[in-house]
Symmetry: C2
Subunit: 436 residues, 2 copies
């Protein structure tokens, strides 16, 4: 390997939105990156699916290949940017790059959430750097803040809006008073939702990111299957409007929280009080709030996706790989150290942390209905904060009813939903969301 | 010098709130810091004014001195924590520590704002690290985020709420509908305001922090005297309430912004729209919003002072000093490089960036008054967004009048205030605040 001391040779896998943004930023301000990193960061090769595609935003002054192994096996390349996404062949390419002693920067949350352990173990063994700032919350430097800025803190809690598509849709439904499906189409047209949006609106993408964050925060394994995952397809405009009347906004929240028994992880729609700054994070914006034992709460909000924001994070990882080149980057995902005592925390699949719950149901408009409902709740040992019969929303013989409970556990909440669903005189499926 | 490879020997100047917080955190979780930094961080000496004071929160298992030079000249000390504040003797102590090859971590914004150039020049010469995360916005890791997380960005704009005392007082005035002086006393009792609060409420403290931030953001010299500094003493409860009616909150904002002619820096009260997340940052909380060319806006909000938050930042600097010990930390304040081309930006004392302005005045309650006022504004070429005569606030022959202009420059705004003040039939001093 003939690696220059003053040049960092970068090979890029994927020249799509993010890859194009990174190369374009490097080409437009080479002196900025050289002065701030100490090296000339040079793109020396890229792999693309279609070499003939017109890429007007960047100067194609480097060779192009359609075989990714040309990149990860190229001895002159110091650092591989993995921006193709998906699990395979990304996994095999990253492992090959590490095996060849190359540093890796990736924006691939799915890959890390599923195969992170394998990747970071190999990186430690090969003394290579794996940067993944862009994999979580786009341009928000949350990984750096957790690992370095809050290094002195034990983090007890995280609340995040970390899927821009969900947030864009929920915000749009309220703003335009439109149904879910209409806003989804608009989001797709504007590029805020994928053609196949199921990973985003189903909560999987947020779960991927939460897995990575939780592993970092609590030094626990990456265990995607222990996360309680709910998407936003169940949120209707009525819920958004009722929530507003009650003083809340519905947000798709990712939550990691220490409980008595371990760590609980969940993603799903939740009613966030309007007094909470997270409720003000709208459109495609992301935000994360952490609670540290020394610092208290820290909120960060910014763009969670897009060419510029993602490139911003990818580039900061590249610079970090240079700045910290003499440090051991072993097990980066666990706060940069092999020596840290293993956490005795486990992810508990059961959600035991109590919170208030919101229910919406449609009942037959007959006397005694509210009494029957409150009796069911009382029988389940649930205290009520509010029960509202929406007289304005009455239609023929049906009336919408809203309930906000005091703090209860998920188990109690599920039992309550079941009991309410089975009540005579209840028509629709009973909606149930957590209140943050 | 007998410095161990595995131990970082720390000498502490000042064991007050912050110093006590740092030592207490180190003592309560030594294994956490060792695993995350790679060294055992050991407090080996401290200097205090009163050695006999009871310090129950920390184990005094290290020698105490009342002569700070015992610390900065002690050959076994690797890193000096300067937590005594003020300009002298802090400056002399920091320079001595650097001259003796020691790294320095400080929370002293006044020192850096005034003598930063001298300190960072010496640090570069001696190849020493100077950490100052705690000097700006307390626990918010803003320095790290600017220097590292946003390293790929050119920052165009910064808006910050960076003085907790001002924010606490402004929030308290609104919440309790109290006068400035009453809330100031409460803030002093709660420890959110100093006994002599003039640096805070006069805007000097915010100006110190803004000087440091601007130097870092724009690679410009530390020039405190080029900042337009206004405190909050001029903000009355009426202004806060009128602002609310108009859809704003009054916040003490620090602003750094690129203009056509250079960089403009100002601190002062401003009306922030209620739709802006900065308007939701209340009590003693701080927040900073940056705009990067790649990232777009990034908002960070958290505790700006207090033992825990400040210790969080001090400790992350200490860990950074270890992690990056092999890197050149030259000219840290200008994004970690000697090589970066000097900025051609200058701080322009004249404020040329236009914004809307708010005026409050009390006029004689006679016919034609509003017409006279609008004529004066028209004569000064000022378009008006709103003029409101507050009929409810009428007292005897006097009536309050509020004006919000379209975007104008500071020069025009000052001329307008003067013209309004000199109008016949205007009683009080004319209040004038920027609208963010």
């Amino acid at each position: 390997m003939s690696k220059s001391k003053d040049i960092l040779n970068v090979g890029v896998l994927g020249l799509g939105t993010v890859g194009g943004g990174v190369v374009s930023a490097l080409q437009s301000s080479p002196e900025l990156f050289e002065s701030r990193s100490g090296k000339h960061i040079k793109v020396v090769a890229a792999c693309v699916r279609n070499p003939n595609k017109n890429r007007s935003a960047i100067a194609m002054n480097f060779p192009i290949t359609s075989n990714p192994f040309d990149i990860v096996e190229d001895p002159k390349i110091d650092l591989v940017l993995e921006l193709i996404g998906g699990v395979e062949p990304a996994r095999r390419l990253v492992l090959t790059a590490l095996n060849n002693g190359k540093n890796v920067v990736t924006a691939n949350k799915a890959l890390l959430a599923v195969h992170g352990e394998e990747i970071f173990r190999l990186a430690a063994e090969k003394n290579c750097f794996v940067g993944y700032e862009a994999a979580v919350a786009g341009g928000i430097p949350i990984i750096k803040v957790i690992r370095e800025g809050l290094v002195a803190n034990k983090i007890t809690k995280l609340h995040g809006i970390i899927n821009g598509t969900c947030n864009y849709i929920l915000t749009g439904m309220e703003k335009h008073q439109s149904a879910f499906d209409d806003i989804l189409i608009e989001a797709q047209q504007k590029g805020f939702a994928e053609e196949d949006p199921s990973f985003d609106i189903g909560g999987i993408d947020a779960a991927h990111k939460l897995t990575i964050l939780a592993s970092l925060l609590f030094k626990i394994p990456l265990e995607l299957d222990k996360i309680s995952v709910v998407g936003i397809a169940d949120v209707e405009l009525e819920d958004i409007n009722y929530a507003k009347k009650l003083g809340y906004k519905i947000k798709h929240l990712a939550v990691a929280e220490k409980s008595e028994n371990g760590v609980e992880l969940r993603v799903g729609p939740a009613l966030v009080p309007e007094t909470d700054m997270l409720s003000k994070v709208d459109e495609e914006m992301n935000a994360i709030r952490l609670e540290g034992n020394l610092l208290g709460p820290l909120l960060m909000s910014g763009a969670g996706a897009g060419a510029g924001p993602t490139a911003s994070s990818v580039l900061s990882d590249i610079v970090d790989s240079i700045r910290n080149s003499k440090l051991e980057w072993a097990s980066v995902i666990t706060n940069n150290s092999d020596n840290e005592p293993s956490s005795d925390l486990v992810i508990t699949a059961e959600q035991t942390i109590a919170s208030a719950f919101y229910y919406r149901l449609v009942a037959s408009n007959e006397p005694g209905m509210l009494a029957s409902i409150t009796n069911i709740l009382a029988a389940n040992n649930i205290s009520i904060e509010a029960v509202i019969q929406d007289e304005e929303g009455k239609k023929a013989d049906r009336v919408p009813i809203l309930i906000v409970t005091e703090k209860i556990k998920q188990r109690q909440a599920d039992a309550t939903r079941l009991a309410l669903s089975e009540m005579p005189g209840i028509f629709s499926p009973v909606k149930q969301f957590r209140v943050k």
